[in-house]
Amino acid sequence: MRSDIEKSLHALGNKILGKEHQLKLALTCLLANGHLLIEDLPGMGKTTLSHALSQVFGLQYSRIQFTSDLLPSDMLGVNIFHSSETDTNKQFSFRHGPIFSQVVLADELNRASPKTQSALLEAMEERQVSIDGTTHSLPSPFFVIATQNPSSQSGTYPLPESQLDRFFMRISLGYPQWDAEKAMLKQTNSTAPLEQIIDEASLKAMQQEVSNIHASDALIHYILMLVNESRNNGDYPNPLSPRASRALLQGAKAWAFISNKAFATPEDVQAVFTAITAHRLSATPHSESATYKGHSPSDELSRRLLESVDPLAA
């Protein structure tokens, strides 16, 4: 593992204790230039994680709390008319909303109205915002961490499958282990901000390096076999899209990069597979209360799909 990555993972691990795998996945998502969906109960450390990620990479951070009355303009920004009496050039000027930030935490995304949800998802996909005919580019890197509360679904607007597909990865942190929680409680300086380990320029360089990781035909065949199995086998109500297969390849490369390998292997695909495919494969809204305890039914689908394809057959 690269030393800077190892260091940042270590720093994150001091904030979120006992969740090394999830942290690694979150980092993978960032390196693969994708957006992250965290599905968890309140108080599990979603905000802490996103904050810590922005601190480690020295990125600008903002948080939007989604509610049912949140309007798209509240999130994207508005044109305001400057009318001070002394000012001669009276004109409209754009006031940037909270989305113009490198790391955006979209908290409880499913509480917002579909209109606002789709405004965010559009911005995520296009990496730019159009207001009153003017296009405003979002900062780069742009990383959205959205959270959803799997319980208490009343008054929410569950994300449709087409929009779930836009999230590169879905993870859930879940309750910490006994020892981890004990260590957390004994921590004294838990609120101290983390120091920056990787700067913005090297993050961009890393993202470029991830794209350059070698993926052989055999690996691509493996990914194709996986997605085709989901399409040809009637057991999967929502087959994987080409966007999903691209995500799988990118995720595997990022995972290989984190593991300091020059090329991606099926292990890398398998490591990120559940996180990338579980939310795409499951059709129904995620009301299952089992999410934070163990594997949800959608995880089950992913695992079954993974187990039905032999990587060496490719």
Partner: protein, 697 residues
């Protein structure tokens, strides 16, 4: 796989509806099926009743209108009403057209009604299978090569409709290509099965249909045969061993029926004769015809006849021929009047084997009964002829002289030979002999037989065919216009043949009907068709078609157990049970293997490099040793998985192999030194093998 197909179909259908709602695949396939049905109906005109054909054509029209979107499907209730009505009609007419034909009609009616309502996949499949049955029905009566080609065409068209219905959204041409490939693959299998599978006799008997008979009839009113002469349908084909064995034209009398009953106008087979035949066979007497060969006659000729279906029992053969029943599939039974009867009606082309005995005489086999039967004439009609016959009898002392006198009368009194004599409703023989003096063979035969009987000489009319055209060196074809009638008179205890026609038109015997008619200024066929048929090109074409049809009958339809045996003998030499079994089993397994290849595409392993195969073999060894299957695990995961089961050295070697494998398969090295990797793999493999062996020991 099935789920995949249905999904694809669903996608196809939805695409279809989205892109081209007017001419979707489905309605095109439906229309193709309807058109095939229409063609089948037109080929089955002999079997189907007119109203059934009309109903079928209506269904076709409905389908076309639906295709053009100018009509809606009728309400099912209308069709139900139609179905009930059709059922009544079928039951009503069913008794008069026989069981087989009414079943074919039922099939056609059901098809038509379903076709009108056709709107689902299930119905489409049902109708496809039904049309295959209709093709089968067509083959019951039509066996010529032309019919065969036509039905194959319809079958291909149906297959195309099926392929088009199920295929993805592609142009019709690619469906056609697909069907062509499948059919080409099927042809060798079909040919092999046809050649080597045992030729079993039919498992069921075809019910006798009551439809129109073809060819000769069991009653003759003079004038009947003249209408037969207008038909150039094939009656039978005879194949002789060589050109020298073919009898001369004037000897080619193909004897069929003996008419001994006369009611003043019509000659028919006597009921008393039929009764007598039954009694004689009950008494287990042997007909004299079968004993002909036992006498020491040399100069006999074996020949084969392929007889067109007559839907009757009677057979024709050269006068006189002994049936060679050891080779015949259907027995040809000899009668006491020296005629032949097949054991079942000839519903399709059949071949028979005979031995020709020239110069054999027909004896008075049934004695006084026969003499008496053939002396009866109605005493109330044809007075003039009876007076004339009695006068002749007084002038001529012996029956032979008397018969010759009658023959001479025909020659000297200016009789003429015509296909279209005037009608002779009252006292036909008087009118013919003394007024009209023009007629066809049956008129002459009838008049002479009557005169002989009136003069006290037992006589009878015989019908059959005379002549035949030489198709090949050793093949004769006899057509319906060769039908003929002549006289047999009982003189000196033997039935002697007299052919009065030969007195009037000698060329009838030597050169055939056309020539004989030409001498009297007539043509067999008239009108435009007749003129065309005399053109040189048409004659060549016709001759060529006849040749083709003959070869077809001989090699395809006539391919029976005997021919198969001959073929196998040619190929294998002496036939033994062992050889036969071996050939059958071998060909069956060849067909089986071919089918296996077609239907179960063997999952082909991609051609992997050697180092990959070595790694896989190593995995196999480890799996076998540890009992832990790899399933979906990737190489490194499996390594971790079996960590506890393996000893240090094995683990190290397997680890090295795994790393090597990952690097070479997934690594980005374009200039991979494959031989080096292979040799390294081999090394590690051997050490894995050895250490595992040690562990086991």
């Amino acid at each position: 796989m099935k789920a995949f197909l249905t999904r694809q179909n669903a996608v196809v259908n939805s695409l279809d509806m989205a892109i081209t709602p007017s001419t979707s695949h489905k309605s095109t396939s439906y229309l193709m099926l309807a058109v095939a049905y229409g063609v089948l109906l037109l080929t089955l005109t002999d079997e189907l009743m007119v109203w059934v054909i009309v109903l079928g054509m209506c269904a076709l029209v409905v389908r076309v209108l639906v295709y053009l979107k100018s009509s809606q499907l009728p309400h099912p209730r209308t069709i139900n009403l139609l179905a009930v009505l059709s059922l009544f009609a079928l039951t009503w007419f069913g008794f008069s057209i026989g069981l087989l034909n009414s079943m074919i009609n039922l099939l056609a009616v059901a098809f038509a009604l379903k076709l009108i309502l056709l709107n689902s996949k299930r119905d489409f499949h049902l109708l496809f299978c039904t049309s295959l049955f209709l093709i089968g029905c067509g083959f019951i009566s039509a066996l010529s090569m032309i019919a065969w080609l036509g039905y194959i065409g319809v079958l291909l068209f149906l297959l195309l409709a099926l392929a088009y219905y199920h295929g993805p959204v592609t142009p019709l041409r690619s469906s056609a290509k697909f069907v062509a490939t499948l059919v080409l693959q099927a042809i060798p299998i079909a040919a092999l099965l046809f050649l080597v599978m045992p030729q079993l006799p039919p498992l069921w008997q075809m019910p006798t249909s009551k439809s129109q008979q073809t060819g000769l009839s069991d009653t003759v009113t003079p004038g009947d045969i003249a209408s037969l002469a207008k038909s150039s349908d094939l009656a039978f084909t005879a194949t002789f061993p060589s050109n020298d064995d073919i009898p001369l034209p004037q000897q080619r009398y193909w004897r069929a029926l003996v008419m001994e009953d006369f009611d003043g106008k019509t000659w028919s087979i006597s009921d008393r004769r039929k009764q007598a035949e039954r009694q004689l066979s009950l008494l287990q007497k042997t007909p004299p015809l079968t004993q002909l060969l036992s006498a020491d006659i040399n100069d006999v000729t074996d020949y084969e006849m392929i007889v067109e279906p007559t839907k009757q029992n009677w057979l024709f053969a050269l006068e006189l021929s002994v049936p060679n029943n050891e080779k015949n599939n259907i027995l040809a039974n000899a009668q006491f009047d020296y005629t032949l009867r097949a054991s079942t009606p000839l519903m399709s082309k059949k071949s028979f084997y005979f031995t020709y005995v020239p110069n054999a005489s027909i004896d008075n086999a049934a004695g006084d009964f026969e003499r008496q039967l053939n002396s009866l004439i109605p005493t109330t009609t044809n007075d003039e002829t009876r007076q004339w016959a009695l006068a002749l009898k007084r002038q001529h002392a012996t029956p032979e002289l008397l018969a010759n006198a009658i023959m001479n009368y025909f020659r000297q009194q200016g009789f003429s030979y015509t296909l279209e004599p005037n009608a002779m409703p009252v006292d036909p023989i008087d009118t013919f002999l003394f007024e009209e003096k023009a007629g066809f063979c049956a008129h002459y035969a009838s008049a002479m037989t009557f005169a002989l009987r009136a003069a006290g000489v037992p006589a009878r009319m015989v019908t059959g065919y005379q002549g035949g055209e030489q198709l090949d060196d050793n093949v004769l074809q006899v057509r319906q216009y060769d039908a003929h009638a002549w006289v047999e008179a009982l003189i000196n205890g033997q039935w002697q043949r007299y052919d009065p026609t030969s007195m009037v038109a000698p060329s009838r015997l030597n050169f055939g009907l056309e020539q004989a008619l030409a001498e009297f200024g007539e043509k067999r066929t008239s009108g435009l068709l007749g003129d065309i048929s005399e053109g040189a090109l048409f004659m060549t074409l016709q001759n060529w078609m006849r040749q083709m049809d003959y070869q077809w009958s001989k090699w395809i339809l006539g391919f029976d157990a005997n021919k198969q045996k001959d073929l196998l003998e040619d190929l294998l030499g002496q036939i033994t049970t062992k050889k036969i079994t071996a050939v059958f089993l071998a060909s069956l397994s060849v067909v089986g293997v071919i089918l296996l290849v077609y239907f179960f595409p063997i999952k082909r392993q991609p051609n992997r490099p050697k180092y990959q195969r070595i790694y896989r073999n190593a995995l196999g060894l480890v799996e076998k040793h540890t009992g832990v299957k790899r399933h979906h695990l990737s190489p490194h995961q499996y390594l971790k998985h079996v960590d506890n089961y393996l000893e240090g050295s094995t683990k190290a070697s397997l680890h090295a192999m795994t790393v090597l494998f990952n690097e070479s398969v997934y690594g980005g090295d374009d200039n991979l030194d494959k031989p080096l990797v292979t040799s390294k793999m081999k090394q590690h493999f051997n050490s894995v093998k050895q250490s595992l062996r040690k562990q086991n020991a």
